[in-house]
């Protein structure tokens, strides 16, 4: 008989209506400011800079500008630090990211050779100042390695292990270079 489909539908919605009162498991809504959704570890929002130890001197960034060049929407701006004679130092004086332009593509993270830029999980960055408030400068971007461990434990551990291995290799290389160093220096002196 026609019309019974409507009654079936009405029954279903009625079940939802009453069920939502006694069965909280039915609710799909999360009451946002009070409770927040659990992130996956790979969830990402905007980039940040990792430092070890000191928030300024401990930055891993060497201002090589690879990320600035690779960034598709061109939202990174880097000026390297200079010493008195105008020689560039391996340290950013200015490191700005315009998060109103950033599209969260993670390319900067993938191209960084020093594991110094990583993706954050902070998403509540709304501001009333739409010009200044959305440009994150160096001090706002700098976050500690502990924070990195906190938001992405697995990835941060892997990065730490890799960095440690790299450092060991460097030290071994340096140690190996130290013993034949005088000879090499001597040959170099002789050459010209």
């Amino acid at each position: 008989m026609p019309g019974f489909g409507i009654i079936k539908g009405l029954k279903e919605t009625a079940r939802n209506f009453f069920g939502s009162y006694h069965d909280p498991g039915r609710f799909v809504t999360i009451q946002y400011p009070e409770e927040k959704r659990e992130h996956h570890e790979n969830y990402r929002s905007f980039p940040f800079l990792v430092y070890d130890g000191d928030p300024v001197k401990g930055l891993r960034c060497v201002s090589c500008k690879i990320c600035e060049k690779e960034c598709p929407p061109q939202c990174i701006y880097i000026v390297p630090e200079q010493d008195g004679s105008g020689k560039l130092l391996k340290f950013p004086r200015i490191f700005d990211i315009d998060v109103s332009v950033c599209m969260g593509c993670q390319i900067c993270v993938e191209v960084c050779p020093f594991d110094s830029i990583k993706m954050d999980q902070e998403f509540e960055v709304s501001t009333a100042d739409r010009f200044g408030g959305l440009i994150l400068n160096r001090s706002k971007l700098a976050k500690s390695n502990e924070y990195y461990h906190q938001i992405r434990p697995a990835e941060a551990t892997a990065v730490d292990a890799q960095l440690a291995a790299e450092r060991e290799r460097q030290q071994a290389k340096a140690a190996a270079a130290k013993s034949p160093a005088p000879a090499a220096a001597a040959t170099r002196e002789k050459k010209p």
């Binding site: 008989m1 019309g3 409507i6 009405l10 209506f17 809504t29």
Partner: protein, 400 residues
């Protein structure tokens, strides 16, 4: 006589004369009318505020959401927040719009509906205007809504507005016929067009049962037809094509914002209250209690209870059914509701003709025969409407 009692007597005299004057003033027709207007408008506006909240809550629960729960405890201040938002929003009028018609359209929409609210009997003595042709007044006034929809759609100079207005007018005209035909049955059986008399005719109850029109076969079918057509008349889902937001943005309301939009919104809900009130009056016994032993409860209580139930039914249906397509809408009105309403008319005539049957069980026999006719018509028409049509490649008459 003590001074105290003298004082009291004097005061009584003074207040007595004041009271007499006040009484004279209070029974002045102007004052009476103004009070009636204020009460009807105020009560309906308050009900409107409550219903918007209940609708959003109810729809939310139907979709397993809590609904608005931020403004105040359980969101009870949500209507106030909505109202403040609507009033303080910028009122944007398109540059090329027809300014005067654009301004008048919401008023032409709202004013007649508030007039329609005046003729409904809310209780044994609670009738603002007892018109001899109350039902006719209701429908005559309702036609202004079509003109208002056209005014809004045309004056906005927006193709979506115009399309929405065309849809609204086509829909209102198509569903007015089943609506009127379903009420005609009640008018015929009661023998009066006065809403007060129609309610009075439903009070007598046999064997302690309510004498409402819905408990007869023609009343049941008429009520269902009326409810369907009423949902379409007041642009409620699933017949909300005129403002189908996924297709034509907001229909004839596209270019309205701020308080004018709120007036349209209010008119839609007032229309729903008015048409539900008419349904209650015609089929659900108006302000009568369901059982005679409950008649001591004031009539207004029963009226409001039935109104809430009907409005909740509309909300329930809105949460259940998807929107119809334009051709389905027209087919539904002209090929299903119209013939069904006409057959219901014939059933009512049969019911009237067999009123003289005297043998035992006559009432039950009549009931079953008439119900069989209506149910058979319903099934047959529904099958015919739902029969799958041959679907073939589309032929373009002009494009190819």
């Amino acid at each position: 006589m003590t001074p105290w009692s003298t004082l009291l007597a004097l005061a009584g005299d003074a207040t007595g004369s004041w009271l007499a004057q006040l009484k004279n003033l209070a029974t002045h027709p102007w004052v009476v009318n103004l009070v009636a207007m204020a009460v009807i408008l105020g009560a309906n506006a308050a009900f409107f505020a409550v219903i918007t909240l209940l609708e959003r809550k109810g729809l939310g629960r139907i979709q397993n959401r809590p609904g608005p729960n931020r403004a105040g405890p359980f969101g009870i201040l949500q209507p106030a927040a909505d109202g403040i938002k609507m009033i303080t929003k910028e009122d944007i009028v398109p540059e090329r719009a027809d300014q005067l018609v654009h301004f008048l359209a919401p008023l032409v929409m709202l004013a007649p509906i508030t007039l329609a609210l005046a003729v409904l009997p809310y209780g044994p003595q609670l009738v603002a205007v007892n018109l001899d042709a109350g039902v006719l007044f209701f429908f005559a006034i309702g036609t202004a809504g079509e003109l208002a929809a056209f005014m809004a759609g045309w004056s906005s100079r927006n193709k979506y507005s115009l399309l929405g207005a065309m849809r609204a007018i086509a829909q209102m005209i198509s569903f007015e016929l089943p609506l009127v035909l379903s009420t005609l049955v009640v008018i015929m059986m009661t023998g009066s067009m006065s809403l007060v008399e129609i309610v009075a005719g439903q009070g007598s109850a046999a064997w302690g049962l309510p004498g409402w029109n819905i408990f007869t076969p023609w009343g049941l079918a008429g009520f269902l037809i009326f409810l369907t057509a009423a949902a379409a008349e007041s642009n409620r889902s699933p017949f909300d094509l005129p403002e189908g937001e996924s297709e034509i943005i907001g229909g004839f309301m596209t270019e309205y914002s701020g308080f004018k939009y709120a007036v349209f919104f209010m008119a839609e809900y007032f229309g729903m209250f008015a048409v539900s009130g008419l349904g209650i009056t015609l089929f659900l016994g108006g302000w009568h209690a369901p059982f005679p032993f409950l008649e001591w409860v004031p009539g207004i209580f029963w009226y409001v209870a039935k109104l809430v139930a009907l409005v909740f039914g509309f909300i329930w249906i809105r949460g259940t059914l998807p929107r119809l397509r334009a051709d389905q809408l027209m087919n539904f009105s002209w090929k299903f509701l119209m013939p069904l309403a006409l057959l219901n008319f014939a059933t009512a005539i049969l019911w009237h003709a067999t009123a003289g049957w005297q043998f035992p069980g006559a009432w039950l026999c009549r009931w079953l025969v008439c119900f069989g006719i209506v149910a058979g018509a319903f099934t047959g028409l529904g099958r015919a409407m739902l029969r799958r049509r041959q679907v073939g490649p589309r032929i373009y008459r002009y494009a190819s």
